[in-house]
Symmetry: C2
Subunit: 482 residues, 2 copies
């Protein structure tokens, strides 16, 4: 960032060493809940993207534009609690109906499914009049954010817009504040042209036109970047977008917040959770997975593969456990509730079929227990990360970082993290249950030297690129804009 820009863009002086920018995301750094008296109290930083960005921006004098996610957030903003030293938090407050349409219907039930190729096309999506109203809600939600950014950003400032919830803000800002250097970063994959074409023609066009308004668009994997560029080469999509010219684009995979994850792994809570795990697992081998209960994570085929391992290779019966830590997600959507129920029933069925008095083959825990998750990562023999399609998958990086047993990573080739980790992971086609079972067997049977070499290589790769590098890449991409 040029020094003029720093001066112009700075309303709060930077107190940290990080970048000073405008960051824009649906979820902000602070979240609140209501206490018994109906007063908002801090509920800690949200996980995921906001949790990753927060420590990087604290004290940098940056501005963060985010939605108030509910009543508690709204009250907190009113009372001036949405504030932090050295980080200016600007909240956008959509009304509840607009938020539901923008977040649930369009962002999560449509765009998420689209970019992850999760549609069951003979039946879903169903674009009807109700959906069109939701799309208007999505547009209004984007407009609120664009207006807030336009009001808050200094002349020529770099603006980093995060994720698919805000894809339309590019064109809005290009029109309203053409001086800004706008960057969009997608934490999801990007849909193939034929899947994007499922969207109502005008909506697909508006989406692509919206993103074409950014100065540049970033992705975790060259595959998603290529799919993004391919959309503008599709004649029908380009016609509805009104342009066949994608904006500049770049690939910059996220890395973990190394210090935070390592610190957490050494915390008392994690050590205690680890002791409890030791008790449950005993001297058996341990296959771990840590996910949201999420259709893209491929939890069902993970279980089927584990069952095929037990069926095909009797030596593992009683000798290995699968620990599936799958915390609940998006339970307002029927698809997620029914997927959770399928996941639970499949685990039960496998345990009924194969379990014995002293051995439960699959331990499924749908509680959100971060310490337990990190403890499981420190001591897996095999970490199974087999999404059908995944923007990056940070667990595939965090696991090798904290694992202390030279555990083997079995990784889907459809995860963005595959780009960086493929030389040291055991790759799988996530749709291939037999190949996944074979990969689990290979990983469980691997000799100590190979485990050590692979674990070291994974660690080296992960340490080579952290969350700060990722943010720096976004910032540099923004600064390089004309």
């Amino acid at each position: 960032m040029g020094s003029e820009t720093v001066a112009a863009g700075s309303e709060t002086m930077a107190t940290g060493a990080g970048p000073e920018v405008v960051v824009v995301s649906n979820r902000g750094p602070l979240s609140f809940r209501l206490d018994d008296d109906g007063e908002p109290v801090a509920a800690g930083t949200g996980g995921g993207l906001a949790g990753t960005l927060h420590p990087l921006l604290t004290g940098t004098g940056s501005t963060w534009v985010a939605a108030s996610m509910g009543e508690a957030d709204r009250l907190a903003a009113d009372r001036g609690l949405m504030a932090e030293d050295g980080l200016r938090i600007v909240t956008v407050t959509p009304d509840a109906d607009v938020y539901r349409m923008a977040y649930d219907v369009v962002s999560n039930a449509t765009l998420w499914f689209c970019h992850h190729h999760l549609f069951d096309l003979p039946r879903r999506p169903r674009f009807d009049r109700r959906w069109r109203e939701a799309w208007e809600g999505y547009r209004a939600f984007n407009r609120l954010f664009a207006d807030a950014v336009a009001a808050e950003a200094a002349e020529g400032e770099v603006v980093l817009v995060q994720d698919y919830h805000l894809a339309l803000t590019g064109a809005m800002l290009a029109k309203g504040r053409p001086d800004l250097k706008t960057v969009h970063f997608s934490h999801t994959p990007f849909a193939d042209p034929n899947v994007l074409r499922c969207l109502p023609t005008a909506a697909a066009g508006e989406l692509l036109a919206g993103m074409a308004g950014f100065g540049t668009c970033g992705f975790h994997s060259t595959r998603w970047e290529a799919a993004f560029r391919a959309a503008y080469a599709d004649p029908e999509l380009a016609a509805s977008a009104g342009t066949d010219r994608p904006p500049a684009s770049f690939t910059a995979p996220l890395g973990p917040d190394v210090q935070a994850v390592v610190d957490e792994a050494g915390s008392e809570a994690v050590v205690a959770a680890g002791r409890e795990l030791d008790r449950v697992v005993g001297d058996r081998k341990l296959v771990v997975r840590v996910d949201r209960v999420e259709l893209s994570k491929n939890i069902l085929r993970g279980f089927w593969a584990f069952e095929e391992l037990l069926e095909a290779r009797a030596q593992w019966r009683g000798r290995v456990m699968m620990l599936a830590l799958a915390y609940p997600s998006r339970e307002g959507l029927a698809d997620y509730l029914s997927y959770r129920s399928e996941v639970e029933h499949t685990a039960e069925r496998i345990n009924e079929t194969w379990g014995t008095d002293d051995w439960t083959p699959v331990v499924l825990d749908v509680a959100d227990d971060y310490s337990r998750s990190v403890a499981a990562l420190t001591r897996y023999d095999v970490l199974l990360v087999n999404p059908v399609r995944d923007g990056l998958n940070l667990v595939a990086k965090e696991g090798p970082l904290v694992n202390r047993t030279d555990g083997v990573l079995v990784l889907s080739r459809e995860a963005g993290a595959w780009d960086e980790l493929q030389s040291a992971a055991v790759g799988v086609n996530p749709f291939d249950v037999t190949a996944t079972a074979d990969a689990l067997d290979l990983a469980l049977s691997m000799d100590g030297d190979e485990r050590r070499d692979r674990a070291a290589a994974l660690r080296e790769s992960v340490l080579g690129r952290t969350a700060a590098d990722w943010l720096a890449d976004q910032l540099a991409a923004g600064q390089a804009l004309p």
Copy 2:
């Protein structure tokens, strides 16, 4: 075909004016059923591809290699009934288990879903050990055909292999009979690379290597041809195929057998069925669809769109009927049974919601009544052809050919036939229920001049390219091979 080749390839002298070639397809020109005494009696030509090819090959002295589809066919072949003047029929007899694995599991439940993008990816496909056995069955089935062709074809002869059931015969014939000029024609779309990558890696590779063995591969649409070529440009697919070089390829859309369809439309049975339809429909407008009960045909969204039309535009209530002729298909597959049940329940629900004493909004007929289907085509006001993805869709061409009421064609942009018919049809995004409802309204409201112009343009386009042209293109592509 060079004259030497004719001489060498001819065991039965040609009696007709058509081409003399070896045609290879799963289903042959003749099918049999068992009578009460257990004796095989002719059950008429099968529909679909075989029904299209049969009149073109009758009397040409060609050879047709096809599977015996069951006990009756097998008995008929044994008794010498699989024979016709001027058409040599060679039957291949897989055992029932191989046939089930090749036809049901691999061809219909896997490759059909793959090429039509019908997978519900969080759950299906499920490639397990049982599927791998089925793939071996598919390979064995292809081997039987390749061996039969190798034994029957004359030196240098043109061999036209039809459809996805026989994709592996290309490599087999390239190895065993490199002198042959082999052509493969796909009646389905071809899967995008990312969908093809769902197949077990080795199977995807074997499929592409199998097809790379043909001299040339044909498709109904340039889109499917492009997807086919793109598969070989995918590094992972190319690596598993062992080649990044697709064979030559061409696009040659099928046309209807004009004379046969026109004759049928004038037949007594059709005239009688038309009278019965007149009675049911009265002076209401009539929307018609004619499909198999098939997940790719998008029958559900067709109903939802019709319902949205009734909901949003009160003037059509009581004034329009949808006649959905959907004959049963693949009922050995659970997916098809459950889809049929969804289709039936949706029609019932709409009738319960909107129907009156003297008006049934949706008439769903799942009987296979060809005369009734043709009668419906002669008198529709709107023909709805809205597949989610379709190799060609011959109904979209047959309808305009026999329709006598200047009916309007509402056509999915994802059907292969869209390439040729787009200037005169009303196009729809098949996933967009509202857009489909709007297209129905537009078509139903269209003035007489525009209806006439569009109907004339459709008829002209359809008459410009018949089934014989399509076969001639395949033959020419084969003859042009070195």
